[in-house]
């Protein structure tokens, strides 16, 4: 028997009140932690994704969309940059690297990121950390695939496996309805003429590329060139069939279509590029260059492309989200304050029923100070239970929010609590509970023993 037994019994005697009071603290702590986690992890995820590139070039409508699509693989860009334009831009500035990328295909809902070998040798996902392989090697031929760590985890693929890619990203019914398409979701077109072989798996980077399947851009062009050629053949067949009504040439034509497209069949319009990762030449060991703003201004003057500085766009995004962030954190603080009030009320109201118990404990030898500490400790324990529950809820909640962010925005966020921040929130909740417990503790301290032992004299 110790003070904790008395507190435990007291809390158990008011089970419902204890549960709801702890829940209100848990909600406040969870809300606060999820917001802080998502803010910090979100920012970290955004900062990680752009790596050591200085500029992103695309044909998207605005720089932020360009960053979200081409760096965070949120959605395939709607408009590509023509190859001729790409070559022209490549000559216009002193680039350290100028890497073409193409997003459009997918595998099991994961984006396929088509690029060149320079993506692995020159672009770094983290400004100071280059790509590292978990297993296998980087691709060096067409139709080879390197898996991001999460993509490998989610698909279960390993080096040596062969897969077919799906044209486009699968759309949900909601997305189709937005586009005015109703009825059944159409089956996606699988490029099953070409098998891609998994040759390597990357180490995790914490960026969006972790959930992508990286492949050579020429192979991706060949896939689409094959589609183009097949479509042309079908149109030609249809036209001929119209001319020669009633005559079936299907067998002959099928034979013709079996010929696979090669690099030699590519025409300029096949070589579509949806984004360019670019880095201006810098001095060795330096990340910045006086040339960056000059090149940025020069590129921005071109109305046919959109140029984005990832760091600026991320800052812009966080400025937009920041005010919402502050409102939400203020709301969480209000919830925390109200949970403090609910602790105060729960304990204060219980004092009326506990006066006799307090008087008996005093008769048994408990000092007024000890009674004060018991009630205060009870309040702190309520806060601690709520805070512990809140941390658990926050971790689960953050995972849910992160998976929603991934599903809706394609943004990979690894929710984690900065230990110090977590400690601040938990200690803050417990302290708040302590403050809320002060008034009931004072009431308990001042409880008259003589008055509350039923007078019989």
């Amino acid at each position: 028997m110790n003070d904790f037994t008395i507190i435990r019994r007291s809390l158990a005697a008011r089970k419902l009140s204890t549960i709801f009071t702890s829940l209100s603290v848990a909600v406040a702590v969870a809300l606060m932690l999820v917001l802080l986690m998502m803010r910090d992890s979100g920012r970290a995820a955004f900062e990680r994704g752009s790596g050591n590139m200085h500029l992103l070039l695309s044909a998207d409508s605005d720089p932020l969309t360009a960053i979200l699509n081409s760096v965070f693989l949120a959605a395939p860009p709607r408009r590509p940059i023509e190859h001729a334009k790409f070559e022209q831009l490549a000559m216009r500035a002193p680039w350290e690297f100028f890497i073409p990328t193409q997003i459009g295909d997918s595998y099991q809902g994961l984006p396929v990121f088509a690029t060149t070998g320079e993506f692995f040798t020159k672009f770094k996902p983290d400004p100071v950390e280059p790509w590292k392989l978990q297993s296998g090697r980087f691709f060096d031929k067409n139709f080879e695939i390197v898996l991001g760590s999460r993509a490998a985890q989610e698909t279960g693929l390993k080096p040596g496996d062969k897969i077919s890619l799906t044209h486009g990203m699968p759309k949900t019914r909601a997305q189709l309805q937005e586009e005015g398409i109703t009825g059944d979701v159409p089956a996606p077109h699988v490029h099953d003429e070409y098998k891609f072989e998994v040759v390597g798996i990357l180490e995790p980077t914490g960026g969006a590329h972790d959930r992508a399947l990286m492949t050579g851009i020429t192979g991706a062009w060949i896939l689409h060139a094959h589609d183009r050629r097949e479509k042309a053949e079908h149109e030609k067949d249809a036209a001929e069939a119209n001319k020669e009504e009633g005559h079936d040439h299907a067998d002959e034509h099928d034979h013709e279509h079996e010929a696979l497209t090669t690099e030699a069949d590519l025409i300029d319009s096949d070589r579509k590029i949806t984004g360019v990762y670019a880095r201006v030449m810098t001095r060795p060991g330096s990340d910045s260059s006086a040339m960056i703003p000059v090149v940025f201004a020069q590129m921005r003057a071109d109305p046919t492309i959109t140029v984005a500085q990832p760091t600026q766009e991320i800052d812009k995004l966080f400025r937009i989200v920041g005010s919402v962030d502050q409102i939400l954190i203020a709301m969480a603080a209000v919830v925390a304050a109200s949970s403090g009030i609910s602790i105060l009320l729960a304990l204060y109201n219980s004092m009326e029923q506990r006066r006799r118990q307090i008087a008996v404990l005093r008769v048994l030898g408990a000092s007024a100070g000890r009674i004060f500490r018991l009630v205060l400790a009870e309040s702190l324990i309520l806060g601690a239970i709520g805070a512990a529950f809140g941390v658990a809820v926050a971790l689960i909640g953050a995972q849910i929010v992160a998976s929603e962010m991934k599903a809706r925005l394609g943004l990979v966020i690894e929710p984690s609590i900065a230990p110090l921040m977590g400690v601040y929130v938990v200690v803050g909740a417990i302290l708040l509970a302590g403050i809320a417990g002060l008034l009931p503790a004072i009431v308990a301290y001042r409880t008259s023993v003589a008055k509350n032992l039923r007078p019989l004299g």
Binding site: V363, L364, A450
Partner: protein, 249 residues
């Protein structure tokens, strides 16, 4: 204040004459409260160690108040109350509470057991604030409850019969081996048969544990059960009566 001379008898039969302070010694106690200045005046009163005294008086004569004065729950305007030789009211705050927990046991008419706690925990609660070594608490509580016939010490007190609750209350009062047990109308809510059994239990338990017993009651039938009876009716002002001046049963 005079010290009582006590004869300690050991199990092996030897006797040791030693000077022990009385379990209770009151000197010039003045206490008044309320709009009508209700007053209690006790010029002198003593209880020897292990002595059992009945304080009688009608309702409103201040029986409970005098017990609260003795327990140090209420401060008198004047006078000294010594329990086991210690001046209760000279001690302040936590020291007085600790002393009360260690040296005074209290039994109430309604038992005042801690609801939501088991019988064992009610006894342990008394030991918790005592000076007895922590390791001995559980064994002491179990032993007491067993000797008082509590078969299920882990049962919550609210699930027990009135008789069992009273036994738990008695066990709690003597758990710390107090010098003095104050019983405030312990039989007021019981029928005559149970009342006799209850007072017998209290007296026997106090005797066994060597505690003096000061029991208040307005039941005339109780007088026969105590070797010494004091009346409080005379204590209300303006009449000042002297308690302990030999007003026997």
């Amino acid at each position: 204040m005079s010290l009582g001379v006590t004869c300690l008898r050991f199990r092996h039969g030897t006797e040791l004459m030693t000077a022990m302070p009385p379990a209770l010694a009151i000197q010039d106690l003045h206490f008044s409260y309320g709009r009508d200045h209700f007053e209690i005046v006790v010029p002198s009163m003593q209880l020897a160690p292990a002595e059992q005294v009945l304080l009688t008086g009608g309702s409103g004569t201040g029986k409970s108040t005098i017990l609260q004065l003795i327990a140090g729950l209420v401060d008198p305007q004047q006078g000294v109350v010594r329990v086991a030789g210690e001046n209760m009211h000279a001690m302040r705050g936590a020291a007085r509470d600790r002393f009360r927990g260690a040296h005074i046991g209290m039994i109430f008419q309604t038992f005042n057991l801690l609801q939501g706690f088991s019988a064992l925990e009610n006894v342990l609660a008394a030991l918790m604030f005592s000076e007895m070594p922590k390791l001995s608490h559980r064994a002491r509580a179990r032993e007491l409850l067993q000797s008082l016939g509590i078969a299920r010490p882990e049962a919550l007190v609210e699930t027990m019969s009135v008789g069992q609750q009273q036994r738990v209350a008695v066990a709690r009062a003597v758990a710390c081996r107090p010098a003095l047990v104050l019983a405030d109308e312990p039989t007021a809510s019981l029928d005559p048969e149970n009342s006799a059994a209850a007072i017998e239990l209290i007296q026997r338990t106090c005797s066994e544990s060597g505690a003096a017993l000061l029991c208040t009651s307005h039941d005339p039938a109780m007088k026969e059960r105590f070797p010494r009876v004091e009346s409080l009716d005379a204590l209300r002002r303006p009449v000042i009566a002297q308690v302990g001046a030999g007003a026997g049963a």
